[in-house]
């Protein structure tokens, strides 16, 4: 099928840059170590902070490092191509293609994330497991739920990044909006600090925002903090945000399509 082919090509495209991948794994691991010691200090003072124990917290830290590239918390991925192509005008070719514009780029981004999961995701997790005591799920079903949740996280992340890229239709350059979007993603995903540590009602709020789908929701499934009904609710919320964001992208693209002028020549 076409979209599978697109995803496979995208996977191979990203696998070209081995040196960059290795350097990235090194950096993720260094930060994993630093943040682990921070979390250990926090949970030494308060052993049940946020309902986690110290093992949960350290596992959270390493899984979060593993998610950075996989769900593209810092931005990047095929949506950067879209923003570039809007600026150069190449975007009209994409809009003329007899396939779904969103489907094409989503497939590409899923291929990218599969590559990053197997490299930038797996490697730091192994490093973390060698250096610290991490918690691993006991049942294969949990791994499966985790993977589904990560995939949904990628779609949510893609939806947000695509909306950001589409601002280039009006601003010509996405970098400003992108950096603000990154701020939200880093802070509200759980990458900066686990969302369970947020005090009072702010905790419920940040857990309901779309960014929680990027890091916090998958990791809570891995740690076994959401099981049964809670797990279904978590996945459901992710799926809802994914659908809402993709619909939003479709709407924005329709509006942008109308004001797009193709220069002749």
């Amino acid at each position: 099928m076409l979209y599978v082919a697109v995803a496979l090509r995208s996977f191979r495209r990203y696998s070209t840059y081995t040196a960059a991948t290795l350097a990235g794994i090194f950096t993720n691991s260094v930060f994993g170590v630093i943040i682990s010691f921070t979390y250990i200090a926090v949970w030494k003072e308060n052993p049940t902070a946020g309902g986690y124990d110290v093992t949960d917290a350290v596992t959270f830290c390493w899984l979060a490092q593993a998610m950075i590239m996989t769900v593209a918390v810092w931005g990047g991925g095929t949506t950067d191509d879209v923003a570039d192509r809007i600026r150069t005008g190449d975007i009209v070719i994409d809009l003329y293609r007899p396939v779904s514009f969103l489907g094409w780029y989503l497939a590409g981004d899923l291929g990218r994330s599969a590559y990053h999961l197997l490299t930038r995701g797996l490697a730091p997790t192994v490093v973390g497991a060698l250096l610290f005591d991490l918690r691993f799920p006991d049942s294969p079903a949990t791994y499966l739920l985790f993977l589904v949740s990560v995939a949904l996280g990628v779609v949510v992340s893609f939806g947000i990044r695509m909306l950001v890229a589409c601002t280039a239709f009006w601003l010509l350059d996405q970098t400003g909006v992108l950096s603000l979007a990154m701020v939200c993603a880093v802070f509200f995903s759980g990458l900066a600090v686990p969302l369970v540590l947020f005090p009072g009602w702010t905790r419920d709020l940040v857990l309901a925002l779309p960014w929680a789908a990027l890091v916090q929701t998958p990791i809570d499934l891995w740690l076994g903090h959401s099981t049964g009904v809670e797990a279904v609710a978590g996945l459901g919320l992710q799926a809802t945000w994914a659908a809402v964001l993709l619909l939003g992208c479709g709407l924005v693209l329709r509006v942008a399509d109308r004001r797009l002028v193709v220069q002749g020549g």
Binding site: A20, T27, V30, S179, L180, A192, P199
Partner: protein, 275 residues
């Protein structure tokens, strides 16, 4: 080398300001993006501190230090890294310049290559980190329990100067390796931004070996940790000599000397990529 050092320094400084000024005007062209990015720079570098504040809603101290002491450490390292990043941060693009051949063009111009590499694509939005760090540091200074005598004021000012020089040295040292590898700056990031991340917290949260490494190997502990122990009048938790608390200038000189040596060696051995 006929002209005196002072004259060369003045000329290179002027050249840097001229080139940097030009890039400031360039970034002003995409106005909406520029303003958003500066704002984002303030906010994104502030995330770390908000994260610390979130942690402190769950605990009263980390590694034996309260929020205001950590704010002092955090603000100091943020200002130092921010200033170093503003001035020499672009040096990490050296590998790309070598690959593209634009470094060769710089060699024939009558301005120091280091000045050109740093000033090219100068990003004034990086002031965001300095601004954010200054705010946190200013807040901490009004809150910490310190009897501000001249010695402590001097050490605090010296801390910012020496810390900036230490990070500057590490940036240049890390980039000098790109003369050999002509690529990948992400490993150097682990030392600059990683060093910054580590020194945001009291070093008491790390094992003894890590603290030794941060003192003698990659001396980022001298950026803020040792001067802060002096200013806050805290005996060294690891039992290291108190003299270290005033040794930041020594560390700064050593790091910068090594960086200068590495950079000069790199430039001397440079043979272009031949493309």
């Amino acid at each position: 080398m006929a002209e005196p050092l002072a004259a060369r320094l003045a000329w290179n400084t002027r050249a840097f300001l001229m080139l940097a000024g030009m890039w400031v005007r360039v970034s002003w062209t995409y106005r909406a993006s520029f303003l958003l990015m500066t704002l984002a720079s303030v906010v994104i570098t502030g995330i770390d501190f908000v994260a610390i504040m979130v942690m402190f809603t769950n605990v009263d101290s980390l590694g034996g230090f309260g929020l205001r002491d950590i704010a002092f450490l955090y603000g100091a390292t943020a200002v130092c890294l921010g200033l170093a990043d503003l001035v020499v941060g672009n040096v990490e693009r050296l590998g790309r310049r070598i690959r593209l051949g634009s470094f060769d063009a710089m060699m024939v111009r009558p301005v120091g290559v280091l000045v050109q590499v740093c000033a090219d694509e100068f990003a004034i939005r990086r002031l965001g980190r300095v601004a954010q760090g200054s705010l946190v540091l200013a807040w901490a200074i009004t809150r910490v329990d310190v009897d501000w005598d001249p010695a402590r004021v001097l050490v605090t000012v010296g801390m910012l100067v020496c810390g900036t020089l230490i990070f500057t040295g590490i940036f240049v040292l890390g980039a000098s390796f790109q003369f050999l590898t002509t690529e990948g700056s992400e490993v150097a990031n682990a030392f600059t931004y990683g060093g910054n991340a580590m020194t945001q917290y009291p070093l008491t949260i790390y094992p003894r070996e890590v603290v030794r490494a941060l003192t003698f190997l990659v001396p980022v502990a001298f950026v803020n940790w040792y001067p802060t122990l002096f200013v806050l009048d805290i005996p060294d938790p690891f039992g290291l000599p108190a003299a270290l608390q005033l040794a930041s200038p020594v560390a700064a000189v050593v790091v910068c000397a090594l960086a200068a040596l590495a950079w000069r060696t790199g430039v001397r051995r440079y043979r272009s990529t031949g493309s």
